[in-house]
């Protein structure tokens, strides 16, 4: 139970909102549950619902509505490449295809070793640093961007970034 394993964090989250508005803590508590359990399990929905006084059905609605919550396990981490049009104008689709090829997956798939699920996502507010991607893992979400317009992120650099995550066991 989160309330047992993460008591301090649960209390800290609840304290941010008025005492009679616990429901506002739903989103941070869902992030906490996702970090603790890898994805939002039915049990996690029950727990979060119990902490804020809403049904697990309502919590499931949130998990379905918001893109960054997952109700099933995929790869250990997600690599999410922005291929929205401002990035696409600067080569993001080509980058995504080449990275997929190197990883031996198509967009949406998970690498055979279970380490990475590769996804194309909508704008991440980094249009001047395209190509770019974010990694979502148990530690949160981290950006990896081109150093500048004349130094677009290469597939080899991206593979190095990913290797750093797996070798360090970061967020695993």
């Amino acid at each position: 139970m989160l309330i047992d394993t993460h008591r301090e964090e649960v209390d800290r989250i609840l304290a941010k909102y008025p005492a009679d508005q616990k429901r506002s803590a739903a989103m941070p508590l869902l992030y906490l549950a996702q970090s603790a359990y890898g994805h939002i399990t039915p049990q996690a929905m029950e727990e979060v619902g119990g902490l804020i006084g809403v049904s697990s059905t309502d919590v499931a609605g949130l998990v379905g509505f918001y893109s960054l919550y997952y109700d099933r396990q995929a790869g250990k981490r997600r690599v999410q490449i922005c291929t929205d049009f401002p990035c696409a104008l600067r080569g993001a689709e080509t980058f995504a295809a080449a990275l997929c090829q190197k990883l031996g997956v198509r967009l949406g798939e998970t690498t055979p070793d279970g380490e990475w699920t590769v996804e194309a996502v909508m704008c991440l507010a980094a249009c001047d640093k395209a190509p770019m991607f974010q990694v979502q893992d148990a530690d949160g979400i981290h950006y990896h961007e081109s150093a500048g317009p004349d130094q677009p992120l290469t597939v080899d650099q991206a593979l190095d970034v990913l290797a750093n995550y797996t070798s360090a066991g970061k967020g695993g």
Binding site: L30, Y31, E93, A125, H142
Partner: protein, 477 residues
Amino acid sequence: MPADETAAGLPMGSQPATPPPAAPEPAPVKYERLLLRHRDIPDLHRLEVYRQHGGYQAFKQVVTTLTPKQVIDEVRASGLRGRGGAGFPTGVKWSFLTKDSYPRYLVANSDESEPGTFKDREILERNPHQFLEGVMIAAYAAEAHLAYNYMRGEFWDIALRLDAVLDELRQAGLLGQNLFGTSYSLDIHNHLGAGAYICGEESALLESLEGKLGQPRLKPPFPADKGLYQKPTVVNNTETLTNVPMIMARGAAWYKTIGTEKSPGPKIFCLSGHVKRPGNYELPLGTTFRHLIYDLGGGVPSGKPVKAILTAGASSTVLASSDELLDTPMDYESVAARGGALGSASIIVLDESVDLAWLTLKTSRFFKHESCGKCTPCREGTYWMLNILERVNKGNADKADVDLLQTVALQIQGKCLCPLGEFSVTPVLSGLQKFRADFDGHTRDGKGAPAKPSAARPAGTAARPAARKAEPTPAGD
């Protein structure tokens, strides 16, 4: 005429078809940066550095010497308009708060998710104290004792840093009880969204902050009357709030000397797409497209002419490029006079290689994905626009399908609960109006051959600047 428009070397008479061959050096900046001050002051993100440069003096002065109404009057007098897209006068918005109704809340909208927009992120990362001082002053003006900074979930690492900054401010006595020995108390919390563009719409943001689905509310009542927890609430964009400390420190009269009469002040323009130097550029409102795109952005990498400009991300009217457009001042009135809207000022440059059938496929996919599902015209309409555009782009459509696309868009237009649905048709209808041949060129009966070479490009290959290396199989559209 803004000051930096007089910069030497402005290619006033040059044709868009013949931009300068090499990227010229950016024109000298005569204008003092007010929002992106961190570019001129190293380590401005650190509290002691910010305070060395006058930081939190305005907040202290406001709390100790002014009434909330005086603050509202000053901001109203400055003419500051909302920088999130709508351009509504900020001081007027504050003055709408329902009288004698408490508690009240101040909410910063840092949900920045419009494709092509990346200005608030730079403020939050590099100049967080000026933003937070703006939150504090706005909260005081609103008589709020609790404020939330709602950030998109992807700003995770920024939120971690800002949490530490807020702790630092509490320890420094800049947040907490009885500030500066007065009876005023304030605390601020960060709140992360979780990947939903719609939460940038203020009433959807409030729903989300209440732990519900991020779906817009029917208005009225407006948030100034029934906002967070059904209490009077001010919701302001991050960049808007970052203007406030400068206004209070230097005065409304000074602020009005920047920009144009009806669009005063500085604006951060997010330049992206087909330019050599994309990035954020802070300029007075009223600077021309040409100055931004050619003098500062270095022009188009491929050397091709600019085909069209988007000014408000995926929500933009497609503005066909022309000398007149390039010489148009970027302020709310002038861009509206061209049939567009300045919006969040995300200036996306499209060179002649860009196929509008592809571009609207991308914008429609975005809106279909981001539609909250609450109202039918948007939920169903974006689905069908995307469906038709996928067929058009695959060559599985006739010209009648392009007509159908227009019909569907017109059926959505004017019938949605919130601006998201309305935005979804803007690029489609304006794209069809100005570049219909791009769409027809894909159709089976569109006279066989495309109207322009770009319209028949192999999928996913031509909508980019010169390829850096050959990549045979695109992953996207």
